[in-house]
Symmetry: C2
Subunit: 139 residues, 2 copies
DNA sequence: TTGAACTGTACAAAATAAAATTACAGTATG
DNA sequence: CATACTGTAATTTTATTTTGTACAGTTCAA
């Protein structure tokens, strides 16, 4: 998995930390410790999923579009990282006669998909608000 | 995650498919579609975890060390892939005064660890035997 | 109505991680 | 003692991730 999910959560928490405030990609990038272009790419996806409002032009930037208690990490995961837990590498060879060589990949696909479902489900218990609370508590 | 877990499962299933037979790293590599050195590296870990027996020298190779119904994918995951679901990239900057910048990483570490626990737990329901069965059934 | 401060997006470059390859010492067998 | 194997390390190649650069489009305010 790449770290877009981490960046998305961090950015949303940062916006929840500054309610009613428009934050620029540069300010968020500084807080997250990455570059503004990457933040803007991640934020584009989050905007398309309705988690935030963006504004172009001078005094533009990003703001939460929903109550931080309504945004779960499961939602964020689904929007930005679904499918990235499974490695791309393919095992076996579909042309071989041996069923172990030709069919293991499809069984692994099934197992990875189900496992990722439980992973995503687990994340529904956390919200942007609850993560911010943990951060403030210094856990 | 790299694909060592996939390779481990595939190799164990292949051995279960040929009970009582010593398979060489070359034979397994051919079935899995990778190179023998990589198979030997993965098999070393599986041997250390007690899943299989290895024999060096002529007519040597690999054999299951346990009943394939006893080896769960959860066990295999723990042995070979624990910790690889979380990205290495670190968010924020511990030196910044803002708690969101300095503490988000540790909260994410906690969430990733718990989420991986549920991922691994899920895998305990599958065994090498049950995977082989699915493969034979052509799912 | 113009220029300054932004986003949105694409593309290229650099850094990192994963996979394949090569090599060779060690071990068992016949 | 030659052959067929494992065990392991080092190197090269390839793929992925991250960063950096560029620029068109948008908004605001003087």
């Amino acid at each position: 998995m790449n770290s877009n999910f981490t960046i998305a959560v961090h950015s949303l928490v940062y916006l929840a930390y500054l309610p009613g405030h428009m934050a620029s990609s540069e300010a968020i990038a500084h807080n997250v410790a990455t570059n503004p272009a990457r933040i803007r790419k991640v934020m584009s996806i989050l905007r398309n999923s309705g988690f935030l409002k963006t504004k172009e032009g001078i005094r533009g930037g990003y703001m939460l579009g929903e109550d931080p208690e309504k945004i779960t990490l499961g939602d964020v995961y689904e929007a930005i990282a679904r499918g990235e837990l499974q490695p791309n590498w393919q095992t076996g060879d579909p042309e071989q006669g041996c069923p172990v060589s030709s069919n293991t990949q499809s069984v692994m696909d099934y197992i990875f998909k189900e496992a990722e479902d439980t992973y995503a489900s687990f994340l529904y218990q956390f919200t942007v608000a609850s993560v911010l609370q943990k951060i403030k508590a210094g856990v």
